[in-house]
């Protein structure tokens, strides 16, 4: 087995993930690109597990399992945030997220988006 093949595949997948995170505007597609990067790191760990003989056996595979668990937690919280953003703004475009004002703080500042959307806040208040 030539370890350079999976190593290069992992590096290319990581580059594709970086490109996707920077290029995509839809928040869900950004999360998909983050998943690609996490998978590239997992592939790197598992290939390193076959090439490097560590003191403890199968350390790389154990860490890959840990990263899969962390990715599951990340995707759960990330999608909850994206859905809440959609409920507040009726958009999932990361370019439309204004970082200088909180969503409900200045309704006059962005009346265009908050006036139409926001069924959640209307239901609460």
């Amino acid at each position: 087995m030539r370890p350079v093949i999976p190593y290069v595949v992992a590096a290319l997948l990581f580059g594709i993930g970086v490109y996707g995170v920077l290029r995509r505007r839809n928040a869900i597609l950004v999360l998909m690109a983050v998943e690609l990067m996490l998978n590239a790191v997992n592939l790197l760990l598992i290939t390193a597990d076959t090439t490097v003989r560590a003191a403890l056996p199968h350390t790389g595979q154990t860490f890959a399992l840990f990263i899969i668990v962390i990715a599951a937690a990340e995707i759960g919280v990330g999608l909850a945030i994206v859905l809440q953003l959609y409920r507040l703004r009726a958009t999932v475009s990361v370019d439309d997220v204004r970082l200088d004002t909180a969503p409900g703080l200045a309704p006059a500042a962005d009346e265009g988006s908050t006036a139409l959307a926001d069924p959640g806040r209307a239901a609460v208040s």
Partner: protein, 172 residues
């Protein structure tokens, strides 16, 4: 070139090609389906690299759960049938940084490993990995369970606005 090398090259090509389609397609739902192909090919790579347990966990959790969650999110936010034009922001910087990262890391790894050959180790079965996890890695394992619980509670608190309403009134 042994059989394992040929399998690695084929599965790697599938993974990279499907990954490229994930970040370039203009159909939201198709991006999720290409992600299934990419993650499945990566699971095949794990199998060739003798990581049996990780391969099946990948199929179960990534292909089974994460992609389904992503597709649910696509459906819940906006599910256009057909291509949508507003998915990408224009940008050569993304191409430059992505290609630079991928090709730079590839050059580094190719320079480090050349065309060397290693013997595959004994397969990482559930028994061997379980011995490692519950022997040497108990503390990280327990920490991960706490992390999963807190992520679960956090996701519920974020998505239920009747819980967050009182705190939300202070924020506003």
């Amino acid at each position: 070139m042994t059989g394992a090398d040929v399998l690695l090259i084929a599965l790697g090509l599938v993974a990279v090609g499907a990954g490229l389609l994930v970040v370039t397609t203009r159909h939201l739902v198709r991006a999720g389906l290409y992600l299934v192909v990419c993650l499945g090919a990566v699971a095949g790579l794990y199998l060739v690299l003798t990581a049996e347990l990780v391969a099946w966990v990948q199929v179960l959790i990534y292909v089974g759960a994460v992609v389904v969650l992503l597709l649910f999110a696509v459906m819940l936010t906006r599910a256009p049938i057909g291509a949508s034009d507003d998915l990408d922001r224009p940008g050569w910087p993304a191409v430059l940084i992505g290609a630079g990262t991928g090709l730079g890391l590839s050059a580094l790894l190719v320079d480090a490993f050349r065309w060397s050959v290693v013997e595959l180790p004994e397969p990482g079965t559930a028994e061997r990995l379980g011995t490692g996890i519950f022997g040497s890695w108990v503390l990280p394992f327990e920490l991960l369970s706490v992390l999963l619980l807190s992520a679960l509670v956090g996701a519920i608190v974020i998505s239920r606005h009747d819980i967050g309403a009182r705190g939300g009134e202070e924020r506003r």
